[in-house]
Amino acid sequence: MKRKEVEIKNKLGLHARPASLVVKMASKYQSEIQLIKEDTEINAKSILGVMMLAAGPGQKIVVTADGEDESDAVQSISELIESGFGEELA
């Protein structure tokens, strides 16, 4: 089980487009991947779940993964989130 805390960097936060990027990335891995914001924990492979987090710029999210490719999964998802999804940064 791997976990990492990341901060939302882009100005618009985790809106629909970035959410779909996160899900696309998460679905490449076999591991169970969760995103946690405060006391809400959702499956990173579910688009509605990721959008439900409604995470805004500056907010912190914990990425966790459990499975064979957990290290790669946590690394690439946290890099994706911290890169700001190629959007304007806050």
Partner: protein, 307 residues
């Protein structure tokens, strides 16, 4: 641990603030609501001061009957404790000394128009709800013939497609993808959608669809008890699946045992029909009609008769 701030009950219960605005950030940690009869008479042993204090017609009338000096002493004793707040019911008027004391002690003095007896119930059920253990799970929650069925399983197994077919057949969607569970008693869990994604669904290839707009108001429900869990998993030829259904398996959700069934998924298998049947079978079982057991009994009788 969950806690509720006094300002939240002011807002949610529509209370008027009479005094002690500085006490609005006090924390409430108990779902119990207390009418301090014995305390007003001077008996403070075993006084649970973490509870919200309610003063209704009886309590205020009793205080009114006391001499000014006694009343002051009793109120001072009551407010000496670190109580979260005081609520006056029935829109009653309060004496100046109570207002002053609350102001001085920074304890919010609040008022409601609701009758005391009713308000005790209303507030404590609100607080019980707020304090109820919660959890969010990945799955799809549907109501099939009135039975709340939580469909779980790995991503991509077809939970949403299955729920969509159930909706098409006249059943109701409660939540897709993320289900918020709340334990309301030792044997009951309620499931509901998150406000954000309420009555929406994601279907691979179609994207996000709005079930209420597509299928109408009757196709969705906002809240339902979780009566059974259906786990979908990939058909595994090596695995033994339940062929009799005599023993009811259960799964634990927030420390509550819920009847649970695992259904293997293979292409071309009509899952919606299987789930509808599971729901009807659930009713039969609850009515005491155990199909599998009865069948087995009949078989035993026949076998015994032949030998």
């Amino acid at each position: 641990m969950t806690l509720v701030l006094v300002r939240e009950i002011v807002q949610d219960q529509d209370l008027t603030i009479l005094a002690g605005r500085d006490g609005l950030d006090r924390k409430i940690i108990s779902a119990e609501v207390h009418r301090p009869g014995l305390e007003l008479a001077g008996f403070f042993e075993h006084f649970g001061y973490e509870r919200v204090i309610l003063l209704g017609r009886t309590e205020l009338a009793y205080l009114g009957e006391q001499s000014g000096e006694t009343r002051k002493v009793r109120l001072r004793q009551l407010l000496f404790f670190n109580i979260p707040c005081i609520i006056i019911t029935d829109d009653l008027l309060v004496s100046d000394d109570l207002v002053e004391l609350c102001e001085k002690k920074n304890i919010s003095l609040l008022r409601t128009a609701v009758r005391a007896g009713e308000f005790v119930y209303q507030l404590s059920s609100y607080l019980h709800n707020r304090f109820a253990p919660r959890k969010s799970v990945h799955g799809v929650f549907v109501e099939v013939y009135g039975v709340g069925i939580l469909i779980m399983g790995p991503s991509g197994i077809g939970k949403s497609e299955c729920a969509l077919e159930l909706v098409k057949r006249g059943h109701r969607l409660v939540a897709d993808d993320a289900v918020q569970l709340m334990k309301i008693s030792d044997s009951k869990i309620l499931g509901s959608p998150d406000d954000m994604i309420r009555h929406h669904m994601e279907i691979r290839g179609l994207g996000i669809i709005d079930i209420r707009s597509l299928f109408g108001i009757a196709a969705t429900a906002d809240e339902k008890s979780v009566d059974m869990i259906i786990n979908l998993e990939k058909w595994d030829d090596q695995k033994e699946y339940d062929r009799l259904g005599i023993f009811q398996k259960t799964a634990r959700l927030i420390k509550v045992e819920i009847p649970s069934t695992t259904i293997p998924v293979r292409e071309g298998r009509n899952l919606a029909v299987v789930i509808e049947t599971a729901a009807m079978n659930f009713y039969l079982r609850r009515m005491g009609i155990m199909s599998a057991e009865n069948f087995s009994k009949k078989l035993r009788a026949k076998v015994a008769g032949e030998f």
